[in-house]
């Protein structure tokens, strides 16, 4: 009975969504969106405050020098959103740590790591952490950025947890790194107020589109985000692998 009722509710919801989207003439059909009609057109042409007709790869003097448009939105135009998001992630990591605050013994895995697992995971640890750092640093040129890079750093630490039965990270160090990176992000925003008059404004030279050292504060902000996300998720993993001392 309950299942039939909830099925009816769900079907009504789906019918309502599809019907109202089909009736709405301003909602574009799949694949027929008109980007030049939206605000994204200004983000693509990098002309929110100045006038550019087109942006050419390898030229300089634009608002943001990032060749990846998604990065220029996440870390420059809507950087304040990202600051709020990092705060949400911090609060959830804090909540997890608060719930597991009494637990101090590590959960024991039910298999013994053999020689191959220990050596192989130690070799893979270096490769994965280097890939994470590479993705964080090149966030303004290639797909990726601080969020997946930071998570890769955290998953390399997860590999260490799996390979060694008694491994525990130094939680104090991670907490220190996380707090330091968070305050550094806010300090860069405050420096923007002093230099140009706006919070989180891009106050450095934007450089040539496509160079490694370009795009002003975007790579700096993305590396900070990567380290902060990595340390937060690593502390979440550590909290999940502890249990109460009985």
């Amino acid at each position: 009975m309950k299942k039939v009722l909830s099925l009816l509710v769900v079907l009504a919801l789906g019918f309502g969504i599809i019907n109202s989207l089909n009736q709405n003439s301003s909602f574009p059909k799949f694949g027929e969106a008109d980007v030049s009609d939206r605000v994204s057109d200004r983000y693509i042409n990098k002309n929110v405050t100045e006038e550019n007709e087109e942006v050419i790869f390898g030229e300089d003097g634009y608002e943001t020098g990032s060749s990846n448009f998604v990065t220029s939105i996440v870390a420059n135009y809507r950087s304040f959103d990202t600051l709020g998001e990092v705060t949400v992630l911090f609060i959830s990591a804090f909540g997890v740590a608060l719930l597991f605050s009494k637990d101090s013994k590590r959960v024991s895995l039910n298999f013994k790591p053999n020689f191959m697992l220990r050596v192989g995971s130690r070799a893979l640890f270096g490769l994965i952490i280097m890939t994470g750092i590479y993705i964080s640093v090149h966030g303004h040129l290639t797909p990726g950025g601080g969020f997946p890079g930071g998570t890769m750093i955290a998953s390399s630490i997860l590999l260490l947890y799996l390979s060694n039965d008694s491994f525990r990270t130094k939680i104090k160090g991670f907490k220190l790194l996380e707090g330091f990176m968070g305050s550094l992000y806010v300090l860069i925003g405050v420096a923007g107020i002093y230099v140009t008059g706006y919070f989180l404004e891009n106050f450095l030279d934007t450089g040539v589109v496509g160079d490694l050292f370009s795009a002003g504060i975007i790579p700096i902000v993305y590396v900070i985000i990567g380290l902060k996300v990595g340390s937060e998720i690593a502390s979440i993993i550590d909290n999940f692998l502890t249990e109460e001392v009985s």
């Binding site: 299942k3 980007v35 087109e54 790869f57 996440v74 990202t82 999940f240």
Partner: protein
């Protein structure tokens, strides 16, 4: 086509939330809901024959790109999703430590 599939995913996630009585299954349904929502938001910005929103060698911004704004929003949504999932699983673990079960109906019954 993917747009309809994402709406069906949202419906399935809501169905799971309404019918399941297991804490872990509720969190899994929430994740299914979230994946459907992310696919739908990305599909709003898709342009037929558009390029991925990255400027590469000798290309200009006059070419037709896919809308990059939904990508930025979904990037935010995924990372917040892992935070809420971790918090929910932490609560589930605490519930198990107190009652010894994940089923909502069996809690508090000796």
């Amino acid at each position: 086509m993917i747009q309809y599939a994402s709406i069906i995913l949202i419906m399935l996630g809501l169905y799971g939330l309404l019918t399941n009585r297991n804490v872990i299954k509720i969190i899994i349904s929430l994740n299914v809901f979230e994946i459907g929502l992310n696919l739908f938001i990305i599909s709003v910005g898709y342009v037929d024959g558009g390029l991925a929103p990255i400027l590469t060698g000798n290309s200009t911004s006059v070419l037709s790109f896919v809308d990059p704004l939904p990508h930025a929003l979904v990037l935010t949504s995924i990372v917040i999703g892992v935070g809420t999932t971790a918090l929910g699983l932490a609560f589930a673990k605490k519930i198990y430590a107190k009652y010894g079960t994940y089923e909502i109906d069996e809690m508090g019954v000796e």
